[in-house]
Every structure is written in C-alpha cells, then in structure tokens.
C-alpha cells in the first residue's frame, strides 16, 4: 500500500476524481432525461393545443352550420360565407393575422369548392392515412422541410346526414351551390370529405424546451453538487480523516512509539479497527520488551562465552552476524557491512584456501563440519576461531548456512603451551630414557664384569687353597691347614654371594613371562630340589603341610625363585626345632588369593620387619643361620614386579609367616 506520509491520502483524490466523473455522468444523464421529458411534455402540449384548435374549429363549424340552417338564410353569394367550410377558411386566415404563434389551421380537402382549402402534400398524406385507417381519429406528425418545421395535426371530417344537403347529389343541392360549384358533390354518408388541419411550428416547441431546461438544469446541477459536497464531507470526516489518524498511529508503531493511542471516537468499523490497532500496539510493545530482554540475555551469553552466531545465504550472499560475531572478527557495525568478502579479508591466503576448500566440501556433503581458522581481527594477534554450522536447503534449493563462531584464542594458546610443554617433557623423557638405557647398559656391563672378572680371581683363591689342602697338606702345619680351609670356605661363600647378587640385579632386566601356574607341582618340585641339595639346612623329619592352592598368574621361573627362597628359609629357620613344621596355604582376599608359608622356627622381632626385605640385611647371626641377606630382597623384588605384595608376621621363637600376593595390593 502506497501513501504519502503526512500529506493528503491519494484515496481522497481518488474519491474526488471518481465522484467528479460520477457527478458529470449523473449531470449528463439527468440532463438527457430532462430533455427527453421536456420534449415529450412539449409534444403533448402541442398535441393538446392542436386538439384545442380542432375542437374550437369543429365547434365553430358546427355552430356556423346550424346557425345558417336555423336562420333559414337564403343561400346566395352574400351568405355563402356562412357555410362552415367557408367561414372556417376565413377564420383561419384571420387568425393568422391576429396570432403571433404562427399556428395555422384550416379545413382542407382533395376536392375543395374554395381553392384556399386545397390540401397540400402533407395534408394529402393525412387524408390517405384516414382513408386507409377509418377508425383513427387523429393524425399527428412532425414535418420537416428545408423552409420550416412544424407539427401537422389532422382530424377527419366524415360526411354526415346534414352534409349531404350540399355535397350529395348535385341536382338535390341548393341552387346557389349548383350554380357556383362544379365539385364537392355526389358524397354519400360516411365518405371522407376532408380533414381539419392544424399546423404548429416546431420553433414553439424548442422555445418551450429551452425555457424548461433553463429552469430545471440548474436545479439538478445544484442538487448534485450539494450531494457531492455532502458525500465528500462525510468521507472526509468519517473515513479519510480517521484513516489519517490511523496512519499516524501506524507510523508511530513503526517507529516504536507504542504508548500513543488512537484519538478516534465512535463505535463503527474504523473505531473498532483503531481499538484493535491500539491493542495490537500494546501486544507488540509487550512482546518487543520481552524480545529485547531475551536478545539482551542472548547477547550477554554470547559475550560471556565468546560465542557469536551467523547465517549465510550462499545464493544471495547475504550474511547476518550477531554483535558478538562482530566483536570477535573485530568489525565495527557502523563501518563494516557483513559479507563473505569482508570475512575473507580477515584471513591470510592459507586460511582463505582452507575456508574455500571447507565450503566446497560442505556443499558437496551437505554437512558442515567444525572448522578452526586463524583470523586477523586487529585486536589481539593471533586470534583463533572455531566455526560450527549446519546447512539447510529451502524450497528454491537455496543453500542456507547457519552456525556459530567461537573465539578459542585462549584455549588455542593454552593448547600450544601444553603442546610445547609436552614436547619439552617428551624430550626430557627421551633424554632420561636414553640416560637410563645408558645406565642400564653400564649396569649390565658392570654385572658382566662382576660375573666374569670377580669370579675368576675368587676361583683362583678357592682353587689353589684347595689344591694346597688336597695335595700339599703334609707340608703344612695344622694351623696353616685350618687357615687355608677358612680361605676356601669364604671363597665359596663369596661365590654364592656374587651369584645371588647377580641374580638379584638381573631381576629388573628379566622380562616377565606371565602365565597361569598351578602352585602345587611347583612347590613339590622346589621341595624335592631343596631336599636333594646338601647345602640346604633342614631336619629330615620336618612336617610339611600343603593345602589346596588356587593357581596364580606369574612368571614360572621367577615364581620358582620365590618359592625356593621362602621354603628354603622356612626349612633353615625351623631346623633347630624338635618338631619342625611348615604350612603352605592361602586365604582369599578382594585382590585375589593371599598365599602364605608358615614355620614354627626361630622367628624374628617385628620391630625389625622393615629391614627384612632389604639387601644384605640379616636378622640372625651368621653362626646361627647362614645366609647372604639377598634372598628375601630378591623375593620382594620379584613380587613387586608382578604387582603383588609380600609381608611377614612373626615374634622371636614363635615362628614366622610370610604372606604374598601376585596381583593387586594387600588390604
């Protein structure tokens, strides 16, 4: 709808124009009808006038006729003028001289006795008309000739009884008539003698019409103009003015002035419309206030989260951006018009290529995956954003993108820092690992040296001492022999010590070959070996009780070392008892089975329990119970490598119990 704000409604002009055309049309139509009407009235008047004239003529004829007969005047040349036809003819001539209207009348015939009464052409037509239609009493016709225009009125003169006196048989007619006239005889009753002819000029009719119209047309025009003015006033006050008020209100609403109400009074449609618009305005105001709050909340959320939103029509290239999007991209809403091109200008060539490829792929897949870009937003350098979105296809097959843009600079920088730290850490770990590998290698070569080079001289000491004792004892004193025996014995002990230490140091390097192992066969095997070993201290009558044991998950070779050490210890520390007893059993726990080996031997003081599993730590004197102090340390290391635990409970002379698990920690 188009309208000129603050000016006149075009509607007003439309109404004025339409009314003007309508008015003109009405005026013309009314004038035309008026003209027709007046013309018709005029004809009626003329006809009436003609009738009057005819009536007058007929009356005159009648009067003259009877007066002449009744007076019994002799018919001669002097009285001939009293005959009706003659008298009328003379009256008509006389009337013309008296009357200005130029109305003429006469009685005419095709066979007149007076030449003045000869019917002209028009009158002849009237006579023919009556002859053809004897029942007709009038003839009325507009006659237009180049010289004059007039209405021809005619009335038939039928031959009656009294007419035959002069117009019947000539022999019967009065003598004067016979002598004077040669024509006008031999009529019979009912013949048409002639007509009464009345002629009224058209001019008279025109004058009447003009007179009439001059009076009527101004009245019609004034009436129509009044009507028009009234109609316009009504339109102006009841519609146009109120529409202007409505327009002002609509304009106010458009500019957000919802509090200005319509000043339209009344209860008609427009007033109701105005009230509805007021209500609508209130509703809009309320909704807009809600919308503003909601928008403010959204903007706050976006600002706090550094998350803006956008949508983009790929066809029309229309880009919408929220305030936060502007902020993230460093755009000033007053300066930057959001567009794909503007966005591209924030990117360096590499990032632009990345974006283009991503869009191409997204359009192809109809799926927009997350995209991270580095942008130049003239604020802080560098700025990283994460773009998320989805693609919709509308009914015109347009691709509509919509999504979010998040400032992830802080996250990205932290990530970079973490990466740098990780890299440093990895490098450090690598360095440490290398150092550790080197240390391990050194340790290995050290172990190798110990194994090989330390044992060689020891073997020499032990070997030559033995040779001296074996082959040259006769040359040595008892004392020398005893010393040599001590040398040999210590060498052997040192050999065992070196072997134990090597074994212990090798444990860490030994890769675990974990598998499910049945305990009982292992234990039986270990016990058999220990009983076969002459070096093992034990009592032959030792009682060994072995319960049913659940299988364990361990390296069989290392498990055997554990069992050998623990059972060997149990045998060793209980061999001085009168009735040595060893119990091998297990108990369930949340972390799997807890195995234990219990003896009734020497035991130890629990305050030294911590030292139990350290290398070279012994709780007994060498002359009481021999040992290197490496065995339990080895056991502890094997068990901890398996993720298990070992602990002991004991008291001096109360025996000892060694508990161990292979997986999980002790509760």
């Amino acid at each position: 709808m188009e309208y000129i704000l603050g000016g006149e409604l075009s509607l007003k002009y439309k109404i004025i124009s339409a009314t003007g055309i309508l008015f003109t049309f009405f005026l013309l139509t009314a004038s035309w009808f008026e003209f027709i009407e007046v013309k018709s009235i005029s004809q009626t008047r003329i006809l009436q006038e003609a009738r009057n004239v005819k009536g007058l003529m007929m009356a005159t004829r009648f009067v003259y006729h009877h007066q002449f007969i009744d007076s019994e005047l002799p018919l001669n040349d002097k009285t001939l003028g009293f005959l009706p036809a003659h008298a009328l003819s003379k009256i008509s001539v006389n009337f013309n001289q008296q009357h200005q209207d130029q109305i003429t009348f006469n009685n005419v015939s095709t066979a007149p006795r007076n030449d003045n009464n000869q019917a002209n052409k028009t009158e002849q037509q009237a006579i023919d008309f009556f002859k053809e239609s004897p029942q007709q009493t009038e003839y009325f016709q507009l006659v237009e000739t180049p010289d004059s225009s007039y209405y021809q009125y005619a009335s038939p003169l039928w031959v009656k009884e009294y007419c035959l006196q002069c117009h019947g048989d000539r022999q019967q007619a009065p003598l004067t008539i016979q002598q004077r006239y040669l024509t006008g005889f031999n009529y019979t009753l009912g013949d048409l003698r002639g007509i009464i002819s009345v002629r009224i000029p058209v001019k008279q009719s025109y004058e009447f019409i003009i007179d009439q119209l001059q009076i009527n047309l101004p009245i019609i025009a004034v009436s129509l103009i009044s009507l028009f003015v009234l109609m316009y006033w009504l339109l102006q006050t009841s519609i146009i003015h109120r529409l202007q008020l409505l327009l002002t209100t609509a304009n106010n609403i458009r500019h957000g002035h919802y509090d200005q109400k319509n000043a339209i009074k009344g209860n008609d449609e427009i007033a109701r419309l105005a009230k509805d618009i007021d209500r609508m305005s209130q509703a809009i105001a309320s909704r807009e206030s809600g919308l503003k709050k909601s928008q403010q909340r959204l903007a706050n959320a976006q600002r706090i989260a550094h998350l803006g939103n956008w949508d983009w029509d790929a066809q029309t290239r229309t880009l919408f951006c929220s305030d936060e999007t502007y902020r993230i991209l460093g755009w000033n809403p007053a300066e930057t018009y959001p567009s794909y091109r503007a966005f591209l200008s924030c990117l360096n060539p590499t990032q632009r290529k990345k974006l283009r490829q991503h869009l191409k792929q997204s359009i192809h897949d109809r799926f927009f995956s997350d995209l991270e870009l580095r942008v130049n937003n003239n604020q802080h350098e560098p700025c990283y954003i994460r773009v998320r979105g989805e693609i919709e296809i509308d009914q015109q097959s347009h691709l509509l993108f919509s999504g979010t843009i998040q400032d992830i600079t802080a996250v990205k920088l932290t990530e970079q820092k973490i990466n740098a730290l990780n890299l440093g850490l990895e490098k450090k770990v690598q360095e440490r690992t290398e150092a550790l590998a080197l240390a391990n290698k050194e340790l290995e070569s050290f172990s190798y040296s110990v194994s090989h080079d330390l044992r060689s001289p020891l073997r020499a000491i032990s070997g030559f001492s033995q040779i001296l004792l074996d082959d040259h004892s006769s040359e040595l004193s008892k004392e020398a022999q005893r010393y040599l025996q001590l040398v040999a014995g210590n060498s052997t002990t040192m050999g065992i010590l070196i072997d134990d230490l090597l074994n212990f140091s090798r444990l860490n390097r030994h890769s675990l070959n974990k598998q499910q192992v049945e305990m009982r066969p292992q234990i039986d095997h270990v016990i058999r070996e220990l009983f076969d070993d002459p070096q093992q201290l034990k009592q032959p009558n030792v009682e060994i009780i072995i319960d049913q044991l659940p299988p364990c998950y361990a390296d069989p070779a290392l498990l055997k070392q554990v069992l050998t050490n623990l059972i060997s210890n149990a045998l060793k520390f209980s061999h001085k008892q009168a009735a040595p007893r060893i119990e091998i059993s297990s108990q369930p726990s949340t972390k799997g089975p807890v195995y234990f080996i219990r003896d009734n031997g020497a035991g130890f003081d629990m305050q030294y329990a911590k030292k139990l599993f350290s290398v070279f730590q012994r709780l007994h004197h060498q002359d009481e119970f021999s040992g290197t102090g490496v065995g339990l340390a080895t056991v502890q290391r094997i068990i901890s490598r398996h993720g298990g635990q070992i602990w002991a409970e004991s008291a001096p002379d109360q025996g000892a119990t060694f508990y161990f698990t292979f997986e999980g920690a002790h509760e």
């Binding site: 172990s447 194994s451 044992r455 060689s456 073997r459 020499a460 030559f464 052997t492 090597l502």
Partner: protein, 149 residues
C-alpha cells in the same frame, strides 16, 4: 709339543684358570695332549694353521676345544662363529668354559652351534667334577668321525 698330535685346545687368557683347568684334567686322569691359546686370534691361527702356526699340519685337528668367552683380541663367541661356519672345523666339539652366567651369552652360544656350555664353579671340587665329566663325555664316550676311522 707341536710334533705331538693335539687332542685338546684350551683357549684361556687367565693363567690361573689355565693352571686350574690343567689340574682338573690331571685329577681326572685325562692325559691327552693339551695346547693352550692365550687369546681368540691365537686360537684361530692354531686351528686354521695361520701366522705363527703356519707350519702346522692342517689335517691334525684337536678332538676337543675348551673355549673361554672373554678373550683378548678376538672374543670367544667370534671364535665359535668362525669355527662353526667353516665346514672343515664345524665337526670339532666346542665346549664353552666360562665364568659368565649371562643368558644372552648362553643363548648366543647355542645359536652358533656350541656343543656344551659350562659355567666354571668357584668351588674346586665342583670344577674338577665338571671337567672330569666333560672330558669323559667328549673324549671317551662321544664318537666322532676321526675316532671311528
């Protein structure tokens, strides 16, 4: 000595161990002639009749080689590899007699085709016993190509 057929080649750099080994052989009444090579290079020269042993008859092969692992110049494992990769010497029984209990050494030796691997016990009694057993086995019990001829 060189004129006599060499039955045992002892490759050992440690004179103490040489003496103890010879003592152990004697204690076990193994009287076969023994030649001692003091390093790996000498051992290879002796076997393949090269260098100072160029004059030696290449057809006279030792019946048993006792080989230490840690040797100057060329180490025991390399000597073993060369012996076992040469068809002429592959059939000679080689016993590693060493202080090393290293599993890597044991595995490597057997991969190269060693006939026995013995860790020298510190205790002389055990050492004599072990030497006696290996002498008995490889020199008396074991039938080789040359002994059956």
């Amino acid at each position: 000595m060189s004129d006599q057929a060499i039955e045992i080649l002892l490759v050992e750099d440690n004179p103490n161990d040489v003496e103890l080994t010879l003592h152990a052989l004697k204690k076990n009444h193994i009287k076969n002639p023994v030649h001692v090579a003091r390093d790996g290079a000498e051992a290879l020269d002796f076997i393949f009749c090269r260098g100072t042993y160029a004059q030696r008859d290449p057809n006279t092969k030792p019946r048993l080689i006792l080989l230490d692992l840690k040797l100057p110049k060329v180490d025991g494992l390399e000597v073993l590899e060369q012996l076992k990769s040469d068809p002429k010497t592959r059939s000679i029984p080689v016993v590693i007699l060493t202080s090393s209990r290293e599993e890597a050494d044991i595995v490597k030796s057997y991969q190269l085709g060693v006939n026995s691997y013995i860790v020298k016990p510190v205790d002389l009694e055990q050492f004599v016993q072990a030497t006696g057993q290996l002498g008995m086995y490889w020199l008396v019990m074991n039938q080789t190509q040359s002994s059956t001829k």
